[in-house]
Symmetry: none
Subunit: 222 residues, 2 copies
DNA sequence: GACGGGTGACCCGGATTCTTGTCGTGGACG
DNA sequence: CGTCCACGACAAGAATCCGGGTCACCCGTC
């Protein structure tokens, strides 16, 4: 499934954390056979594999008659990868280095799209806060908010974990790219940015739990 | 399982005390083989091991097809494992120095999450006292209490051991970090703080057993 | 070169933690 | 019955830690 072993584990763990069942493969050949054995609902596939290209893996899987959704992991610079990835039947791709939060959002989006449930419209909501993942839009009480990408991902993470206190470290691990080396002072800064935009009008939804972390939740009753 | 022998024993003892069955390994290689032999429900793994990195141990365990949950113990300053907690394929991580109480709470949380029970929502309760670990909230008879982190951990410890008298020493050993150097006068102080907040309204739940310790229990019938 | 997003450093004010000290209680013992 | 002592409750205070905000720098793009 991946060329860097720890990356496969990282992805698998993050997905398991979100309640998905996972299996990993360490080579393209293994990935093909594992797909036939496990009949997965979705495959996360690195383009760079030790034996063959991920795109080739995807082609073989398709050739075997499976239409399982595939999300590619691709190096940032490789613009060619993107093109070939989607043309070979991938459903989406994420460029490295990515954040776990980003990957999981894509996985959910693809699953949502392929399962024609239609009940879930690609929006997340909490109180009067609505996130449209497809349009990359956030509205508070109907008013469109102008967020930077990092702000958007941070808010989406807080929203998907609404009611749960997340530590700065957890936030850093999920929202920032997996090879980010900095400390978690950044999180404070971005919480500050978000508050300015999200809690500008209306009751505050982003709360600090001192020495523990941050939560998205309704304000306490007075 | 650990690089500092006494730490492994400390953790094992604490877990056994909580009713878990435990086995320890003193090196990474041993840990891998012991995992295959014992089929544990969960592994507590120190990142710094004498032979190989804990992350490598985790990788090998995963490679052998096991998806057993792993909780990492990691040094805070961690210049090495900048590749932070989740980045190594674990389900959760605790930074050293930690309190046993904290570690056990994490272990329970991971077990709760991985077992698709879903019925247990992460709350503990005794009488009209309810602790929500996700939201870091405590309520007495529905009224929200404002506790500091240390107060929270102390109350959680008393609650998980409701009805059992815990000595000041035990409390100190479980609630405070394992390398805490102070004396147990601090326990008295925090019991005092807790009483002021928890037993403020309603019958007292925190009781002193002179010369023995403290208990959380219902008041005696008059 | 200008611009905007992202990061890390800094300072301040306030909360939190831990220590110390005083006071009160209850039991032991002469 | 009086005294002493151990222990616990709590108050007060000092040191530390941490959150919030601001600001300056870096780096990419246009």
């Amino acid at each position: 499934m991946d060329d860097e072993p720890y990356l496969a584990d990282l992805v698998a763990t993050a997905l398991r954390y979100e309640g998905f069942e996972t299996a990993t493969a360490s080579s393209g050949a293994e990935a093909v056979s594992a797909t036939e054995a496990c009949k997965p609902d979705l495959i996360v596939l690195d383009v760079m594999l030790p034996d063959i290209l991920g795109t080739e893996v995807c082609r073989r899987i398709r050739a075997s008659g499976s239409d399982v959704p595939v999300v590619f992991l691709t190096a940032m610079d490789a613009t060619e990868d993107k093109i070939s990835g989607l043309t070979v039947g991938g459903d989406d791709y994420v460029t490295k280095p990515f954040s776990l939060e980003e990957l999981i959002a894509r996985v959910r989006a693809v699953l949502r799209r392929t399962k024609r449930a239609g009940d879930d419209s690609g929006t997340l909501a909490f109180a009067d806060l609505v996130i449209d993942e497809d349009a990359y839009e956030v509205r508070r009480g109907g008013v469109l908010l102008d967020l930077t990408p990092t702000e958007f991902k941070l808010l989406r993470f807080l929203l998907t974990n609404a009611g749960k206190v997340m530590s700065k470290r957890q936030i850093l691990d999920h929202v920032w790219e997996y090879d980010f080396g900095g400390n978690d002072g950044v999180v404070q800064t971005y919480i500050s940015y978000l508050r300015r935009k999200v809690d500008f009008a209306g009751p505050p939804l982003i709360h600090t739990v001192p020495r523990v972390g941050y939560v998205l939740r309704l304000p306490r009753e007075a």
